[in-house]
Amino acid sequence: MRAHLLARLLISPSALLILVCVYGYIAFTFYLSFTPSTLLPQYELTGGASYKRLVGLENWSVALSNLWVFASLYIGFALVLGLGLAILIDQKIRAESAFRSIFLYPMALSFIVTGTAWKWLLDPGVGLERSVHMFGWTSFSFSWIKDSELAIYCVVIAAVWQTSGFVMAMFLAGLRGVDSEQVNAARVDGAKTWQIYLRIIIPQLGPVFVSAFVILCHMAVKSYDLVIALTNGGPGRSTWLPSVFMYQYTFTRNEMAVGAASAVLMLIAIGVVVLPYLYNEMNKAKHG
């Protein structure tokens, strides 16, 4: 069994890296969140003071409520638009692959690029608002990105544009795997196309919904680049998300313990959604 030994030997560097740089670091950040660390890590434990401070901070409640608005709209719209696109594409259309490519390409771009492009598109001074004015509709107003109440919706627009094509690809794969017997039977019975989708096809897409939901959730919680490029958290702090909060408090405001605590809460939020899903997928893989 020399090969067996070799196998274990060769996978151990990866195992070690993951153990240290993922789980060790998680433990480290968790530990830091219970210390009074500021600019540099400090190692004496002072209990949950930083969590207390975190929860009391207005910046954190702003970030949380923004995340709530952003995540629910982003996930909702990406799912609906993704499914809609997939159904349109599934109608035996001409140039299917061209349409598919067009809807999917934003996924190849960096959020920084996307943010830069949308930043100027949404800017009332140079972007769409002015273009519409020039086409003659001068009372048209679209200055959400300058409005601290509405700027978060601009982040939603750009994020949905970036990912709905990907959701479409997932649904399209699901649609192509739908059991055709039932669809046939319904068609013979004279069911209309929309009825077939509503009653037979969409109910079979449950697992795709779950996968897409989990992935979109985790992307929403991690979102950082797009906000930085699009609004840089502004106007004011109106588009702060927990990711922006974490970076700010850790690296520019010298409140490392509070930053660490916010990162721990982000991990927990993702874990709650992802772990049951992964557990389920692993079981499925094990039992065929």
Binding site: A15, I26, I215
Partner: protein
């Protein structure tokens, strides 16, 4: 006569007659396609206009006087931080970062995938699950200790440091890709090779890797796009000499003082998008497969 069944519907079947419904379908698709294309159209069109034309004109209009000056400026003279270097050195940084990161993480993924499917050992499922979860962690949770580690290793603010980081957090993805691929690989081939006396590396080199080109392509594309587009690690762990392109672009766009040079920003954004767009256009099919493999299957 074949019935107009779902199988035919999926397989392309006979062309559907053109009615009002079809017309509406194509109209909807066309409008959606134009909406999806608009940001890149705007980027390209406005990167070819002089600045005063953007200021006085319509963002959606074609240039009246075409110019490539914004591209030249974005590439070689735009102010990134303190130096008027343009994006060029950072474009090079990104390649110096992406190439070793992709090669290393792909090789490690292939090796791990091979071991995790062909050898049983205690805790193998747990190890795979641990790697899989690492794909989903918010990177904010590792930023502080990783910054400290890179400092201790003397890799803070270097491209090498970023290579290390991207390889470490890429292992989860690449292992997932190769493990799933090798799990579906015909076992008889491996068994018969083993019977013929092939050892650990013999099976990997002569049986598995030569049959792995589809998954290698997928993994390379996935890692290339991810690492090229990566921002958070770049922003956290690099300095002026080692910024990846995404960080440099963000500095160009967000820190410029005085006049906003939209055309230069658009050109810069397009320069940053170009490599991954080319990869996407050349290998769209594999790109999709990579996206799906990285997400759907566990």
């Amino acid at each position: 006569m074949a019935s107009p069944n779902a199988a035919a519907r999926r397989a392309g079947g006979p062309p559907v007659p053109f009615g009002v419904a079809r017309l509406a379908l194509y109209a909807a698709l066309l409008v959606l396609a134009l909406t999806f294309l608009m940001p890149v159209y705007v980027m390209v069109v406005n990167s070819l206009k002089p600045l005063d034309e953007i200021r006085s004109g319509n963002l959606l209009a074609l240039p009246i006087s075409w110019t490539i000056d914004p591209w030249l400026m974005a590439w070689s003279t735009a102010q990134i931080g303190v130096q008027p270097t343009g994006l060029k050195p950072y474009f090079i940084n990104s390649f110096l970062l992406v190439i070793p990161s992709v090669v290393l993480s792909t090789l490690i993924g292939a090796l791990n995938g091979y071991i995790l499917t062909q050898y049983r050992f205690r805790g193998d499922h747990l190890l795979f699950a641990a790697m899989l979860f690492s794909v989903f962690i918010p990177y904010q949770i590792v930023l502080i200790p990783m910054a400290k580690t890179l400092g201790l290793l003397g890799l803070a603010g270097t491209v090498k440091g970023l290579v290390f980081v991207n390889v470490v957090y890429g292992i989860g993805f690449t292992t997932l890709f190769f493990r799933n691929y090798y799990a579906a690989f015909p076992g008889e081939l491996v068994r018969s090779a083993r019977m013929d006396g092939a050892g650990f590396f013999g099976i990997l080199w002569r049986i598995l890797l030569p049959n792995s080109s589809p998954i290698i392509v997928v993994t390379v594309i996935w890692q290339f796009t991810n690492i090229w587009n990566e921002f958070l690690f770049g922003a956290s762990f690099s300095d002026y000499s080692s910024y990846p392109l995404t960080v440099a672009l963000n500095n160009l766009v967000n820190s410029s003082t005085g006049v906003k040079e939209y055309n230069v920003h658009f050109a810069g954004a397009f320069i940053a998008a170009l490599p991954t767009l080319i990869v996407y256009l050349l290998s769209g099919k594999y790109f999709v497969r990579g996206l799906m493999a990285g997400s759907v299957k566990g």
